[in-house]
Chain length 249, copies 2
Amino acid sequence: MNTASDHPLMSLVDRLSLHSAISPDDCASLLKLPFRSQQFESGNALAAQGELRDHCSLLVSGIGYRYKTLSGGLRQIVGVCVPGEILDLKQMYLHQLDGSVRALTQCQMVSISHLDLRQLIAKRPNIEKLFLTEALVELSRSREWLVTVGRRNARARVAHLLCELAFRLDGNGSPPIQSYLLPMTQEQLGDALGLTSVHVNRTLKSLVADGSIARGGRWITILDWANLASLAGFDSRYLHVKQVGTCAV
Amino acid sequence: MNTASDHPLMSLVDRLSLHSAISPDDCASLLKLPFRSQQFESGNALAAQGELRDHCSLLVSGIGYRYKTLSGGLRQIVGVCVPGEILDLKQMYLHQLDGSVRALTQCQMVSISHLDLRQLIAKRPNIEKLFLTEALVELSRSREWLVTVGRRNARARVAHLLCELAFRLDGNGSPPIQSYLLPMTQEQLGDALGLTSVHVNRTLKSLVADGSIARGGRWITILDWANLASLAGFDSRYLHVKQVGTCAV
DNA sequence: CGGAATGTTGAACCGTTTCAAACGGAGTGG
DNA sequence: CCACTCCGTTTGAAACGGTTCAACATTCCG
């Protein structure tokens, strides 16, 4: 089900092909890009250092999160990053970065120079179209997240995030996984959902109480997908994943 | 200060050039696109009808808003649209639309066929780069909005939106305007900020009470920009507007 | 083993919502 | 010109969802 290959850039190809058709030629030329690889421990900032300034960062394995910090020290997590995502496209096109990215789990990241990427795009403009498509999907996720935080109550917020993670954590467009290791603390869940870690805790317990999920440590099992999804108001279309499996919701 | 031209597509060129450099050739070829124009009254859905299905919609004048509706009837406004914005790029690249757009004021909209646009892009790939840049700026705004709704209290939320509107409503990259007609009802403000219209009302009054703003009907005057911006935690960089004026904040 | 980070629980508190009623202005028809 | 209606705004009082603070339990990790 997953494309078998240990080439780091294959993660990018896999991800792009979730949302668009990608030609063999485009794929081949992407895989020819020069890159430098780095490892990051959980909790560290996912950012290229020093001489890699004019580079794009690609998350190859592991999970990360995007966040912004308020002056008062409050933090809002604005996105979860999965393998194949380019972490700082914005910097390449806008020469300015707002927000930061950190590793939730141990991560492998790859740096590709803007120059190489621009040369590739000049030769194969379709690559830029793929990037645009990715940006639009990310925008779509961001807007749904906004709905979650703005208009859903705590139970629906937590449920919605659990549903999204079930779809995204294995990252190959298959139906939602039914059981997974939550990659974030309850405090991070709170920062993502606009809640307190205390209230996230109580909400998780209430979801367990009515049998929607089961929980062992950070291990989440979705016991009743239909119930959880309806409670969350979850409609997977906003993820814009070309359905390959047989997933109703 | 505004580019003087009554060609509808000039609004697009103006907007694109807020965030990127745009060559005279690209500009000229954009202006040659065939289009069809439509008017919409305040409150109406901004969407091309029937035979204009495979078209992109460009907002030429007026203000609109994007929103998503929950099953329970609750609504979250996820963006404000100003002239020059393409309303449904997503549909062109992802063949699927989530969310809707409505007119806040009377709007002029122009439709451009996907086919024409694709042909233009094939000839001038740089146009796609401009669209990508726009999408990234919109993503940036969407994330800041998420911070607003997730982690700011009611006063900061309202203040932040007022600051953003001061920057965007006249739409040509100049310093924030100090006085403007709020294009939305308090209920719409609430739907945008994840608040109740009742509480928006009280919050506006409290902003008036401490002298940050003045208000006459829907007319908003920012009396103390520094105060309002600091109260909101507003940092205009997320708008990614190439500063032309002399604006500190 | 010890210490730090994360998770859990209770009780009091507070920002925001809810509900309900009244007010104001704009537009319409008599 | 008045009466009427509609829509948005304003105000008050009560209720609620979520926060805060603080203490304790647990897990993780060196």
